[in-house]
């Protein structure tokens, strides 16, 4: 079971190119981001990100995970919106 905070940390690093840039953008400590990525990689049993001198690169499984993470976070946002609207009855 993936944790959504782990998915957000993963996408932030992918989007910003490195853990440092992602930490600056999100305001989260790098150690927190790193811990979340470690947990996600442990679930998958494989690395998602490779570090090289020019920054962070996606592994093949990382590339697949980007699509899945985006879909999962969108589904969660949609679910929250539906839940907030529930029980209000038809709008005029």
């Amino acid at each position: 079971m993936a944790d959504l905070d782990e998915l957000r940390a993963f996408l932030a690093i992918v989007e910003h190119g490195s853990a440092k840039a992602a930490a600056d953008a999100t305001g989260l400590p790098r150690s927190t981001l790193r811990r979340r990525i470690d947990a996600l990689e442990q679930r998958l049993g494989a690395p998602l990100l490779w570090a090289d001198p020019r920054g962070t690169r996606l592994s093949p499984k990382g590339r697949l995970m980007v699509e899945e993470a985006q879909a999962m976070l969108a589904a969660y946002a949609s679910l929250l919106e539906r839940a907030r609207r529930a029980g209000r009855g038809p709008e005029e």
């Binding site: 093949p60 985006q70 679910l79 839940a83 529930a86 029980g87």
Partner: protein
């Protein structure tokens, strides 16, 4: 946010009270209560009615629990897809279909899914306007609409149907077969309600339209077909070139040289890389299967 909070709510919804839900989830009641409170903070609406120590779920919470159960399954399926690095379609998909779509098409698609993608599960919703359910209430829509709704959609044509006029031989023997468009007005007329035009404007082969007075209309093309089989009148609906063993009919075309058009059945889904990779192949195979059915 973490999914343990959603799991806590799904557990509470399933078991009805804190102690039983906590036992089922293997956590203390205190931990479970903390997760539910944190979820309530995040959603920003009340998830519980509180009477003393008694907690019951609000409508917001019930909606969240139901959707959350699907979300948890989707999360597991997502990890499994990445771990196995598979192109296989795994998980739950909600499919909106036109109400009254002939069962043989659906049975063929389900048979294909069961044999080719055994870990694919679907929920099928027959509705008047399948596209209107995308993307929140359905993942895929099958539709007779010629153009998908505005948005980033993928679209795959599954098959052609032939929309025309039909009647039972008994009806035509009793009431007489119309020989012109004018004579149609003397008959009881039935029509499905297509997604792209009014039911009482019948498109003609020459590009024009005939405005008629309908006895009955419905988006449920199966109902309209049944009215024709029962000999109630002349019916207009899209007919596939394949047999329906469940409801065999002997309907015969009426004025096919004047009233007829080709109507495609399309699958429409949100344009995401995953859908593009997996489902276009899926529907390509379904299309081949439909052709085989039509040939048979």
């Amino acid at each position: 946010m973490n999914l343990e909070r959603i799991r806590a709510l799904v557990g509470f919804h399933a078991h009805g009270n804190l102690p039983r839900a906590a036992a089922a989830l293997g956590v203390s009641a205190r931990t479970l209560r903390g997760r539910l409170a944190a979820l309530e903070d995040e959603v920003g609406v009340a998830l519980f009615h509180r009477e003393g120590r008694l907690l019951t779920l609000t409508a917001h919470a019930i909606e969240l629990a139901r959707g959350g159960r699907e979300l948890l399954r989707s999360a597991d399926a997502a990890i499994e897809r990445v771990v196995s690095k598979t192109e296989e379609i795994i998980g739950d998909f909600r499919v909106a279909i036109p109400v009254g779509l002939p069962p043989p098409i659906l049975v063929m698609i389900m048979r294909f899914g069961l044999t080719r993608y055994p870990r694919l599960r679907s929920q099928v919703f027959p509705v008047a306007r399948p596209l209107s359910l995308l993307p929140d209430e359905a993942d895929i829509a099958m539709t007779f609409a010629r153009r998908p709704a505005d948005g980033p959609w993928l679209s795959a044509q599954l098959m052609q149907t032939r929309e025309g006029l039909y009647a039972s031989p008994e009806y035509l023997a009793r009431e007489g077969a119309p020989r012109s468009l004018e004579e149609l007005h003397r008959h009881d007329l039935f029509s499905w309600i297509p997604p792209d035009q009014p039911a009482d404007e019948w498109p003609l082969r020459d590009g024009g339209a005939l405005v008629v007075q309908l006895a009955h209309s419905s988006p449920d093309m199966g109902l309209i077909r049944q009215c024709g089989i029962a000999g109630l009148g002349i019916v207009r609906f899209p007919r596939g070139e394949f047999p329906d063993p469940l409801v065999p009919d002997t309907l015969v075309p009426v004025l096919p040289e004047l009233v007829r058009r080709e109507v495609p059945v399309r699958a429409v889904m949100p344009d995401t890389p995953r859908m593009r990779r997996s489902f276009l192949a899926f529907f390509g195979n379904v299309r081949e299967g439909v052709k085989g059915l039509g040939d048979g």
